[in-house]
């Protein structure tokens, strides 16, 4: 059990770095509290697996330090760090039984037979594997196998952190939900620090208390699921979280106010800095309403998802998506829309202006 601190962590897979693009991680700083449930969220290639492998010790970072509590573990290997990691696809020892699979990490750490037996049975129970303990692991289904990989991490009482690298990728959709709830439940039961890497926002948002959103090797925002949804600090978070993502459209800043489509939008604060190469206004589809006045748009397409309607509208700056409930009346051709002032943000060079 440990608090995890990452200090200015950078990593490159190349021996010589000439440009910014050669870095897989660019100066990551994180403080994770002991016993928390965290998610690393981002698209493929954003550096989240690299970061995970650095925390577990499978990779040595090019620059920066990793602290578990206040101990510097940067130079230690995975065994010395006492971590557990669950991979994208189930990693099991085919020739061993389920029981031996779970006992393996304990055996390697020299525990006595009785200790191992008690621990394996406890974890087997927790993961509902008791009836299959004596079966060959290779004969199990994908979710059963993934439970074994998970079990090998949980069985050790000394782990500082349990890491999940997109663990539900190969699991059938209807079982994903079951396993995810199981993970959440386990987290509450054993109260260990857990880090969950995924590109699936639903997985991240349902699992974690704090979600770290990564983009091109950088952390763009850390926050609760609600914060990420209601106040994206970077246009990427706006795009990536939510379905459909945030509307982000070019705008002008005039006298500390937002000028969008020739109209001044009400804004919470007055905007000071002006030296950006681009300024954009961001508003989530959920916070746009039809009204009698406001921005003029043309309705292009309405798609009904069952519970919601997604309306694509067009104005001269581009497409604006609007989300309404399924029963809402939609104007037929031309309409006026207004933005909810509380959730309208301005982004300068992709970062929020506050």
């Amino acid at each position: 059990m440990a608090k995890i601190t990452l200090k200015d962590l950078s990593h490159s897979y190349l021996t010589k770095q000439s440009s910014d693009a050669d870095w897989a991680l660019k100066g990551v700083d994180i403080n994770w509290e002991d016993g928390g449930a965290y998610a690393l969220l981002g698209p493929s290639g954003c550096g989240k697996t690299t970061l995970l492998n650095i925390i577990s010790g499978l990779l040595k970072p090019t620059k920066g330090e990793i602290l578990f509590d206040d101990r510097d573990v940067t130079a230690l290997n995975p065994v010395e760090r006492d971590i557990a990691q669950i991979f994208q696809f189930p990693v099991i020892y085919d020739t061993m039984s389920v029981y031996d699979n779970l006992a393996f990490p304990l055996k390697n750490r020299g525990l006595s037979k009785t200790e191992i037996d008690a621990k394996v049975k406890e974890i087997g129970e927790m993961l509902e594997l008791t009836s299959t303990l004596n079966n060959k692991a290779a004969g199990l289904t994908a979710d059963g196998k993934q439970k074994i990989s998970l079990g090998r991490g949980l069985v050790r009482s000394d782990v500082n952190v349990i890491m999940f690298d997109e663990p539900l990728t190969v699991i059938d959709p209807h079982l994903k939900w079951v396993l995810r709830s199981k993970l959440k439940e386990l987290h509450q039961k054993i109260n260990r620090t857990m880090i969950y890497v995924t590109h699936d926002q639903i997985e991240a948002l349902t699992f974690a208390d704090q979600v770290v959103v990564m983009h091109e090797g950088q952390i763009v925002q850390t926050g609760t699921p609600v914060e990420l949804f209601e106040k994206p600090k970077h246009t990427f978070v706006g795009h990536f979280i939510g379905s459909p993502g945030m509307n982000i459209l070019p705008c002008e800043i005039e006298n500390g106010q937002i000028n969008f489509e020739g109209k001044i939008l009400p804004n919470n604060t007055s905007i000071k800095k002006l030296n950006f190469s681009k300024t954009q206004v961001g508003i989530r589809p959920e916070f746009i309403n039809f009204s009698d006045e406001g921005i003029e748009v043309k309705i292009k397409r309405v798609s009904n998802t069952g519970r919601h309607k997604v309306i694509d509208t067009e104005c001269s700056s581009g497409i604006i998506k609007i989300l309404t409930n399924a029963s809402a009346e939609i104007p037929s051709d031309n309409a006026h829309i207004t933005f909810d002032q509380k959730y309208t943000y301005v982004y300068g060079d992709d970062w929020i202006i506050e």
């Binding site: 499978l58 995975p78 991979f87 990693v91 990490p105 390697n108 990989s149």
Partner: protein, 288 residues
């Protein structure tokens, strides 16, 4: 789902059928035909029933060459498999070393069999061959043309040199298909190097190793050209393996009937052994 019967498909099978008939079925049936008859040439045949089979099965000469054949195959499998796996484990996984190793490993496999035999014959000659001469100057009394132990040693060494690469390449392919996550998980679980080999690498290589054993069994059990060129089955009958003996009987003595019966018994032994190997190694696969 209902399949619609389409008898036209048979048309497409006919060419393959004809081809297989001419290169396998017809020759094999000719051998079967010979095995029940006696001939003195001039296309005159006389029915002998199962006489040749009985004779071969009770012949000491056949027992001796079959015994030699089993011992030879057993020894080379015992050497080549562990050695092949060991070499594959030490080969680099990336970088410039990969192509270098692969080319080095493929080279013995690309050399024609009779050339291998000739090479080793010269290489091992006790007076002028590098191997033979070196061994003798080191104080060993080595002469593969006269001492049966030396002949066996040279034949086995030649086969190991020629064919271990096949096991290496197959094992290497098997090792390379193991996902890095398995090694990472083992590292996290605190597994020793031996554990990794025993619980990850070996089980994951099972299929390619089955293939390697089958191929090496069949090839070594039917070995002909290399020992023919190297020792000619000698000295005496020391390295007279089954196929060498068969050819001596069929072409040397022109005993076509007994030779045909021997070929069929030989063929059935190879088939039976392959089946036994395969079913033993694949025993667990059906259950998973």
């Amino acid at each position: 789902m209902n399949k619609t019967p389409n008898q036209k498909a048979w048309l497409f099978v006919i060419p393959v059928f004809a081809l297989v008939a001419f290169n396998a079925v017809v020759p094999l049936m000719t051998v079967v035909n010979y095995s029940f008859q006696e001939t003195f040439g001039s296309n005159v045949f006389q029915w002998e029933g199962t006489r040749w089979f009985k004779e071969i099965l009770h012949s000491e000469r056949f027992h001796a060459s079959l015994g030699r054949q089993f011992i030879f195959t057993f020894i080379i499998l015992l050497i080549q498999l562990p050695l092949g796996i060991a070499i594959a484990l030490t080969m680099p996984k990336k970088g410039w070393g990969v192509p270098v190793c692969l080319i080095l490993m493929s080279m013995p496999l690309l050399i024609p069999w009779n050339v291998v035999g000739a090479m080793w014959n010269i290489f091992a000659l006790p007076d002028i061959g590098f191997l033979g001469n070196s061994l003798n100057s080191l104080g060993f009394d080595y002469n593969f043309t006269q001492q049966s132990g030396d002949a066996w040693f040279t034949t086995i060494l030649m086969d190991v040199w020629h064919w271990t690469s096949l096991v290496v390449l197959l094992s290497y392919a098997g090792l390379n298909s193991i996902q890095p996550a398995y090694y990472q998980a083992a590292e996290i679980d605190g597994a020793s190097r031996w554990d990794i080999f025993r619980y990850i690498e070996l089980p994951k290589m099972k299929k390619v190793l089955t293939l390697a054993i089958l191929l090496r069994f069949m090839d070594s059990f039917m070995i002909y050209t290399e020992p023919f060129v190297l020792t000619g089955g000698g000295p005496g009958n020391a390295t007279n393996f089954l196929s060498l003996d068969l050819v001596k009987m069929a072409l040397g003595q022109f005993d076509l009937g007994p030779a045909a019966a021997m070929s069929l018994i030989y063929f059935l032994i190879v088939l039976l052994m392959c089946w036994v190997f395969y079913s033993l190694m694949m025993k667990d696969e059906g259950r998973t």
